[in-house]
């Protein structure tokens, strides 16, 4: 049998051409396909990192427990060991929690990491009787989290116009530094817009340069030539 579209000879009993998908007319209906491979599929590869991550988890739990016991015996309360345990928990969420999974899903783990940092800061704020969490720490961490997650999402799912996107991202990052200073002003009463002007200028100039480079093809190809790896 031959494929009427590609002109290649097909296996006996083939139902369609593997190249173009054109259905095959078979004069002998009872002819069965000759199979090149069996129908046995391999088991999905398991996550090879699990033993190492499990070991690290046990070690970190042991460290937390030791700190807690030492602290309880010395001070009769969790005191400093609570900070150590929370710190280790944040570290674990950021670096080791994703290792339990076969693939790293940044759109899930990055926001989770920022949420863990937020909780840690809330704990410190409540424990020290501070009033800086809701007006400063939370907006700052949330802003950084949104920018980081957004950047990852854009680079992951948008394949075109990356130079242009990077330019706008840099300008946005510069603009965010002004927002951070605004939060600082609202919380601590510091002078408005002093240090944030430097990142705004630096990121802004570099971002504008990238946008220009994207819009001027000769400049873009010159840069590609100079910096290609």
């Amino acid at each position: 049998m031959y494929c009427v579209k590609c002109g290649v000879k097909l296996q006996d009993g083939a139902e369609s051409c593997p190249l173009c998908g054109t259905p095959v007319w078979r004069p002998c209906e009872n002819e069965s396909a000759r199979e090149c491979y069996p129908s046995l599929y391999p088991e999905r590869p398991h996550n090879e990192r699990i033993p190492a991550v499990a070991f690290i988890t046990v070690v970190l739990c042991a460290v937390c427990l030791s700190c807690l016991i030492a602290c309880l015996r010395t001070y009769g309360s969790a005191a400093w060991s609570a900070y150590v345990m929370m710190g280790i928990a944040v570290f674990y969420v950021i670096f080791f929690l994703p290792q339990w999974f076969r693939r790293y899903h940044p759109m899930i783990f990055v926001p989770v990491s920022f949420a863990a940092v937020c909780l840690f800061l809330l704990f410190i704020c409540l424990n020290t009787g501070g009033k800086w969490f809701w007006s400063f720490a939370l907006p700052c961490v949330a802003l950084l989290g949104v920018i980081t997650t957004g950047t990852i999402a854009i680079y992951r799912y948008v394949r075109k116009k990356r130079l242009l996107i990077t330019g706008f991202l840099l300008i946005a990052i510069g603009g965010c530094s002004m927002l951070l200073e605004l939060f600082q002003h609202l919380t601590f009463g510091s002078v408005m817009f002093t240090w944030s002007l430097y990142p705004v200028a630096a990121f802004g100039i570099f971002g504008l340069f990238l946008i220009l480079a994207d819009m001027i093809p000769p400049l873009r190809s010159h840069l590609e030539k100079k910096f290609f790896l």
């Binding site: 494929c3 590609c6 002109g7 290649v8 000879k9 097909l10 296996q11 051409c17 593997p18 190249l19 173009c20 396909a33 199979e35 090149c36 491979y37 069996p38 129908s39 046995l40 599929y41 391999p42 999905r44 590869p45 398991h46 996550n47 090879e48 990192r49 076969r102 693939r103 093809p217 290609f228 790896l229």
Partner: protein, 425 residues
């Protein structure tokens, strides 16, 4: 008693470093026999070959500074084949044995982790395995000739050497060259690989190649390049197009001699730039023939080898911990190694068999796995009158295969197509 071990050869160093949890660089050799394979006899043949191939019967181990290969505790168990070739060889499997022996109906296949050997070494191994199997199954003694080794003799030291160190030149050639266009498609989930094998009459293929004043490799590269140029033209406007280049492994044994059974091949990336104008098939054949002739000289290949060997021998590189080396090699490979070609075309050439063995080998297949970042690969092996052109892909669309095989048919090379069917797992 400690087991025999050996460091990885220069080309092999990269493969453990760049492997991912879902991808590893492997290739497959398969022979088809007249009758169904007897797994018990195949296992005996596998066991019998062990003393003759100490560089193949190894597992991958990790030291503080380098990976190493260590003799396996026992030969691998033969097992039934899977629904697709080159299923993932995970770290756990590599730590036990770096190759596997599979059987399905009349076919026996060996899949190698690329750190063990290259196509030539793999071909010698499977020829010797098939010869031993023929002896056990049919009682026909195959003489040790034409790539079949005498399993009664000990291995020669030259078969175990890292030949790259011997042929490395004084001057290291820069790896810098322009990136090639990257083929894309809808990724297949769960690691499934589509294999489409085009069976051609060897004489037809050689005749078509000679009609264009090219070798078979140059001719196949030209036809493939024409297919890729067409695909790029359909997807990308001319001013944003990139060069179309084919990665071709070169067997360095032909240039520098030696009979090592370990890796001794290096790649070149000939190609054309579609932005310069359109190319006829004759022009493409001429381009590939000339570029290959210019690149494949002992001097240039020695300089290319030096670019890989010199960093390996530097004190700073030697002293760097393994994880740092892995990170560096993975980065270099991602940016430099895989971006210079659209796909590999690995031509094993005409596979010669001892006369006593010829009635028992119906077909010889050679399949290379896909690379991490480009979805198609092609390998060719000729045995007797049949040439197997195996194309493998990890994407759904068979567009490249369709264009390539249709072109061959139009050029007067009748092609018979076989493929593995994807079923629900």
């Amino acid at each position: 008693m400690s087991r025999q071990w050996m460091p990885l050869d220069n080309a092999a160093l990269i493969f453990p470093a760049i492997r991912r949890s879902t991808w590893v660089n492997t290739f497959r050799m398969a022979v088809t026999m007249p009758d169904d394979i007897d797994p018990v006899l195949l296992q005996r043949a596998v066991n019998d070959l062990r003393p003759r191939f100490p560089s193949i019967y190894v597992r991958l181990g990790a030291g503080l500074f380098w990976y190493f290969l260590e003799a396996v505790r026992e030969p691998p168990k033969v097992r039934p084949d899977y629904a697709y070739p080159l299923t993932h060889m995970g770290g756990g499997e590599l730590r036990v044995c770096c190759f596997r022996v599979l059987y399905y109906k009349r076919r026996m296949a060996v899949e190698f982790f690329h750190s063990l050997t290259d196509g030539t070494g793999g071909m010698i191994f499977i020829k010797t395995l098939a010869a031993r199997y023929v002896d056990l199954r049919y009682g026909v003694r195959v003489p040790p000739e034409k790539g079949v080794l005498d399993i009664g003799k000990p291995p020669l030291p030259s078969e175990l050497e890292d030949s790259f160190q011997r042929c490395s030149g004084e001057f290291a050639m820069s790896r810098a060259e322009e990136n090639a266009w990257r083929l894309r498609g809808t990724p297949e989930p769960a690691g499934f690989l589509h294999q489409i094998t085009g069976l051609a009459d060897t004489d037809d293929l050689v005749r078509a190649a000679h009609a264009h004043n090219a070798t078979v490799t140059a001719f196949v590269c030209a036809v493939m390049a024409q297919a890729i140029i067409g695909m790029q033209a359909d997807e990308v406007p001319l001013k944003r197009q990139k060069p179309v280049k084919i990665t071709i492994p070169v067997n360095l044994r032909n240039l520098f001699g030696g009979d090592t059974l370990r890796n001794f091949a290096l790649v070149i990336n000939p190609g054309v730039d579609p932005r310069l104008g359109s190319y006829t098939l004759d022009e493409l054949c001429r381009e590939f023939t000339h570029q290959m002739a210019v690149e494949i000289t002992p001097q240039k290949m020695a300089a290319r080898v030096a670019a890989n060997v010199k960093p390996q021998n530097k004190a700073a590189m030697r002293l760097a911990p393994l994880f740092l080396k892995n990170m560096a090699m993975r980065m270099i490979y991602t940016f430099v190694g895989e971006s210079k070609g659209c796909l590999n075309i690995s031509n094993l050439g005409r596979v010669e068999l001892p006369e006593a063995m010829q009635p028992f080998i119906k077909r010889f297949e050679f399949i290379i796995g896909v690379q991490y970042s480009y979805p198609n690969n092609c390998s060719i092996a000729s045995c007797g009158e049949v040439t197997c052109i195996s194309m493998i892909r990890n994407i759904e669309e068979p567009e490249l295969e369709r264009r390539f095989f249709s072109s061959l048919v139009e050029l007067g090379v009748p092609i018979e197509i076989e493929s593995n069917l994807k079923r629900e797992a």
